[in-house]
Symmetry: C2
Subunit: 506 residues, 2 copies
């Protein structure tokens, strides 16, 4: 330290260290990707050891007091021009450093190791509809997450400390307000759609769609949207996900079902949305906050935007339906575009979040938000999750699953140690709709382009207004700067009202 | 250190550190496996950064002077009972520590990074038969390897320092003697076979063998041999390999050709041989030398034993030929077992090492040994490799390739930074034959068992006599203890004389 007298040298040292921390994280990401795709089951204990070791090395480097001092010595400079690269990186690294430094090394490593096992166990429990198998792992993860939240500290409730990992600064109280605003509007829209005489023919999409054909179709659409297969992969897993292994290496994974047109496909498009965000970040700042996504909420805004605003739209299918008919020939015989599009958009209570329609989707999120919040608060225990889940589904969606596989086991997040993630889907929905509305204004030919299978204009707009800024501003501010308005639910509700109103003719 | 007064505590600390070093290496192994199987091409620069970072961290830990002091403090105890676990581990870790400590960190990291690129470039150059594309990478690796050899130091020639990485203690001079002994005997055997009137019908094995059927057949045989797919994988790559990711996770990869019965299959069996060795090591000593293979020569002895002694034998095919006919139905129509087995064993000069018959195989190795030795000595440069290769093939096999793809580009070893590896195939051949001869004596029913597709007896013998000893003794001593004789070429030559004599009726 003594020898690094100039701020430039000290900043360069910070960046050098941060890039190594980021690389370590990318090694952990590969270990995790491999576990979720190809790792043989008997390798899980070794994987846990590997994850714990790398997590421990990363913890040591990211919380190194020398790094803290380097940051401290730069904070004066950073204050002068808060939007400069140095300022953004110093600010964000300070936030991460302080957060991680509060989590004890042993707890951090224990979490990394536990997650390696819990992900496997969740997968088996899901496959076999066997909640008791997953329960001890869920219990352990909840216990560790409670500890983690206490270690980090919080102003409101413990859950906020976890939420902050995915959406810096977000609070349960703000989310309460958001859901309080959304819920009645979504209910009213559902009621309005219920008055329609149009009945979506859901069975059209449950015909036989051979998985090898789905793969071809999915790859064609991913490519058309701008996903670069030379810099990425598409694999099969139990629970669809996106994984950035590093620059030039963005991987997505989906799960096909031979009796579902949409299950594998919309997961692909969703994950492509994540990948396009990562591929649009500034490579100059790779491995530093300025070259990283601003938040997971903003990440989901991109995923949900491509999945829903783009790929569930009428123009999108006016372009791709003929290709679908060709690729799946017999399976779509006698189906017309109107029926097809209405079937794709059938709204109403269902059991599976990942396949829910756009209107009910955030009610599925609300269920999870309530349950994980109660788990972290200590007012709910792992063993009581199935009952609480079913009760919450009855309350918010009016139906309840007959099995845990269609209930509390359906999502892999908790087994992956992700508590506080679910609400960012809703933030993403809200922000994505607001961004898309502004893009539609700025790009008068947007609908027409989508109808031609041309997405470069939209992608360029998102790159200019969202992606390239990395973490320069907090996510909500990026949305505000891009759209000229603070984030709010109006654009989402307007979009849903218009799209579903037209589809249902009400 | 001051606080660890007892040898037990100090040894426990050595083992703790060694297990972390081994885990780091296993993370590097996954990065490498991923690059060779699934990594998108644009990810190569990131992969180089990841490899360099982990290699650097491992270098730091493995050469930590504190570890050196801990080892020093235990060497007195170790001397008392050289076969005790502590003694074996301390001795072997001392050897590794001293070797690695001589390689500068920067050179070690540069090699790790360079290999990440060179493996990719080799793959492209091989595919496109484009040696000039690979040449600068080969040149760079040779330069780094020369530096590495100088840094390590050597008594005889520089190449020995590299050989030592794969076969501790082996020297060029010993290998010269081995090849001087082998070459005339192999030549004499070839001449003898040349006097036979039997003509192998090689074309039988170049019919249409659909790759998906090959995969099924290969998996069936791998399973029969004892490979556990719950603790391993079989994938497709450009150059077949075995990779131990960690306990419970042994992966093999092959390359199928639709016009070759044997190319994909014998690579699978070879790699299964490697995997069975790893799976037979003592799990109690996992991550320490006592739980690791004694040398790569001994590793190859297992691979070559299963590939050749077992899976090219008559009893093996008397059992599996009916299954092959069933799985490949039309393709093996009208073929009888005699013709099939002779075709599988056709001896004579060919261009591709990995598909060479057992008699000429070690001449292919000799070519590589001469060339890589000259490269390290500085008497040959990368740009001159194609000419030198072709000349050496003319000299040792009497034929020369028309393309570099069938010539000096055919193997991936040099692109993977492996100089000094090739000769261990020959050591493996020699040792494997000697081990198999002894197993055949100890297990009177061995041939009969193989003819029933039953391999448990042989595997058990190898586990008892080879695998479970890990690195307790040097490889040659393990062979000597298992067979009661110092290693020599007689068992190999007797095996070849008998098998090929019978096949060719001479």
């Amino acid at each position: 330290m003594k020898h690094r007298s100039s701020p430039e040298e000290r900043y360069a040292e910070v960046i050098r260290r941060q890039r190594e921390i980021s690389l370590l994280e990318s090694c952990e990401e590969l270990l995790s990707w491999d576990e979720d795709t190809f790792m043989p089951r008997a390798g899980v204990a070794n994987r846990g050891d590997q994850q714990a070791l790398l997590a421990g090395i990363r913890h040591g480097r990211a919380t190194d007091p020398e790094l803290g001092e380097l940051l401290l010595s730069l904070e004066g400079d950073a204050a002068r021009d808060p939007e400069a690269a140095l300022s953004v990186n110093v600010r964000e690294l300070r936030r991460r450093h302080d957060r991680l430094a509060r989590i004890p090394l042993a707890l951090f490593q224990e979490m990394a190791r536990t997650v390696a096992f819990a992900e496997e166990e969740w997968g088996i429990a899901f496959r076999d509809d066997d909640f008791p198998r997953f329960e001890p792992w869920l219990e352990k993860i909840v216990r560790l997450k409670r500890e983690e939240a206490r270690a980090i500290g919080f102003a409101g409730e413990a859950y906020d400390a976890l939420l902050d990992e995915y959406e810096p600064g977000a609070t349960s109280a703000e989310l309460d307000a958001l859901f309080a605003e959304l819920r009645p509007e979504l209910g009213a829209l559902l009621a309005r759609l219920g008055r329609s005489r149009r009945r979506p023919k859901r069975a059209l999409l449950a015909r036989d769609f051979p998985v090898d054909r789905q793969k071809i179709f999915g790859e064609a659409i991913a490519t058309a949207l701008g996903f670069d297969f030379h810099a990425g992969r598409l694999d099969v897993t139990i629970h669809p996900f996106f994984s950035k292994i590093g620059r030039g290496d963005c991987r997505i994974a989906t799960l096909y079902a031979a009796d579902s047109f949409g299950k594998g496909l919309f997961a692909i498009i969703h994950e492509v949305g994540h990948a396009l965000y990562e591929q649009g970040l500034d490579p100059v700042h790779d491995g530093t906050p300025l070259g990283e996504a601003a938040s997971l909420g903003l990440h989901e805004s991109q995923a949900r935007l491509w999945e829903n605003l783009v790929a569930r739209s009428r123009p999108f299918w006016s372009h791709f339906f003929p290709l679908a008919r060709e690729i799946f020939h017999g399976s779509l015989r006698g189906v017309n575009l109107d029926d097809f599009h209405l079937a794709l958009s059938a709204a109403g209570p269902t059991l599976i979040r990942a396949q829910a329609d756009q209107v009910t989707y955030n009610l599925h999120i609300l269920v999870r938000f309530e349950i994980e919040r109660a788990l972290i608060a200590g007012s709910l225990e792992a063993r009581d999750v199935p009952a609480a889940w079913n009760e919450a589904y009855r309350k918010h969606l009016g139906i309840a699953p007959a099995t845990d596989r269609e209930g509390c086991l359906q999502d892999g997040h908790w087994g992956a140690g992700m508590f506080g993630y679910f609400p960012v889907y809703t933030l993403g929905d809200v922000w994505g709709a607001q961004l898309f509305a502004k893009a539609s204004k700025d790009l008068p030919a947007l609908e027409e382009d989508i109808g031609k299978g041309s997405f470069g204009g939209l992608l360029g707009w998102l790159r200019d207004n969202v992606h390239r800024h990395g973490s320069r501003w907090p996510a909500a501010k990026i949305v505000e700067r891009a759209t000229g308005k603070p984030p709010g639910i109006r654009p989402l509700m307007e979009h849903l009202g218009k799209r579903y109103g037209e589809l249902y003719g009400v």
